[in-house]
């Protein structure tokens, strides 16, 4: 049987970049998985990096569950122009990166699309934590591109890596 977890494109930054885009994503898979190791130059510990798809508009919303080593909280965001992801900022412990998995099932289906995001950073400091997002793209349009950007015009730093995989269920 065929191997169905296929690398579509890898991007590892050789220099800082304000955004990372995967365009012309083929419609030949069932699900997409984006795996990210990232750090930004945001002058803070954490950077809730937004990401958008080709659908655009204000079709995005999310619910999150987060823990920071001392408390767990949950919150939600109403309709907005982007999803949430997560990176450490440049005042976090040196050489630490956040790790994120974004799972997009049925990305070409003509239905609203649930998206799962699991993001963690461990920095040997009290600001480490994890964030789990249930996200919703209220659109029946197929996803054909994804762009990630740093928060508040921050840049992804050298060494940040972004891997987009396609999964087929047959």
């Amino acid at each position: 049987m065929a191997n169905t977890y296929t690398l579509i494109q890898a991007q590892t930054l050789a220099s800082s970049a304000a955004s990372v885009t995967f365009s012309s994503i083929p419609a030949t898979y069932t699900d997409l998985v984006l795996r990210v190791s990232a750090r930004t130059d945001q002058a803070s510990i954490s950077d809730v990096s937004p990401f958008v798809t080709n659908v655009g508009g204000t079709a995005y919303s999310y619910t999150y569950l987060m823990g920071n080593g001392s408390t767990a909280t949950s919150g939600t965001s109403g309709t907005r122009a982007d999803f949430a992801s997560y990176s450490v900022g440049n005042t976090a412990t040196a050489s630490t990166f956040s790790n994120v998995e974004i799972y997009i099932p049925s990305y070409t289906a003509a239905q609203n699309k649930p998206i799962s995001v699991f993001a963690v950073n461990e920095t040997n400091a009290t600001t480490a934590g994890m964030r789990i997002y249930a996200e919703l793209l209220s659109s029946t349009t197929a996803i054909s591109s994804i762009t990630l950007t740093g928060q508040s015009s921050s840049n992804y730093l050298t060494g940040s890596s972004f891997y987009l995989y396609g999964i087929k269920n047959s």
Partner: protein, 168 residues
């Protein structure tokens, strides 16, 4: 070293009409782990669960961490007859929910650990996110997996795919 296929679809089921359960049977023991991915629209007030080997004896336990957009909670369930999860019970909606289950060393002779995730943002109405670790205290290999509900149904169009992952 030449890489072999390590992430293979075993079977996919897409519901033509609403159903209260989905079964994967005759699961081969040739993989290391199993991964289940389900996109469904819950109908009615329901709780999702997994049952292995059609075994409803009190061998299941779980610990879950959940959020509903307003609060976070953790819960534990022991000696249950199925692996029920969803601390915040989902209700009917037209918005699909996404669920995964990783079932580790399913063919081994030790107890079986499962990681379950649930993502269902509804743009402000009944949102849910859940991570659950489950345990099935059986030394038998898992060759059947049922997705079950306490009540209600999964709507037409629900898609469930079972993948096999090989370590080598």
């Amino acid at each position: 070293m030449a890489a072999g296929a390590t992430y293979e679809p075993i079977a996919t089921q897409t519901l033509a009409s609403a159903a209260a359960s989905i079964t994967f049977s005759s699961i081969a023991a040739t993989y290391t782990d199993l991964r289940l991915a389900v996109t469904s629209v819950p109908s009615g007030v329901i709780q999702y669960g997994l049952r292995f080997n059609n075994d409803s004896s009190a061998l299941y336990s779980l610990t879950e961490l959940a959020g509903n957009g307003a609060s976070a909670a953790s819960d534990r369930d022991v000696n249950d007859s199925n692996l029920w999860f969803n601390y915040f019970t989902p209700s009917g909606s037209t918005i699909p929910a996404f669920m995964t289950a990783d079932i580790f060393s399913y063919a081994g002779s030790t107890f079986k650990t499962t990681l379950l995730t649930w993502s269902n943002d509804r743009n402000g109405a009944g949102n849910l996110v859940n991570y659950t670790v489950g345990l099935y205290r059986s030394t038998s290999a898992i060759n059947r997996l049922d997705i079950i509900l306490t009540s209600g149904t999964m709507g037409a169009g629900t898609t469930a795919t079972l993948y096999g992952l090989k370590a080598a």
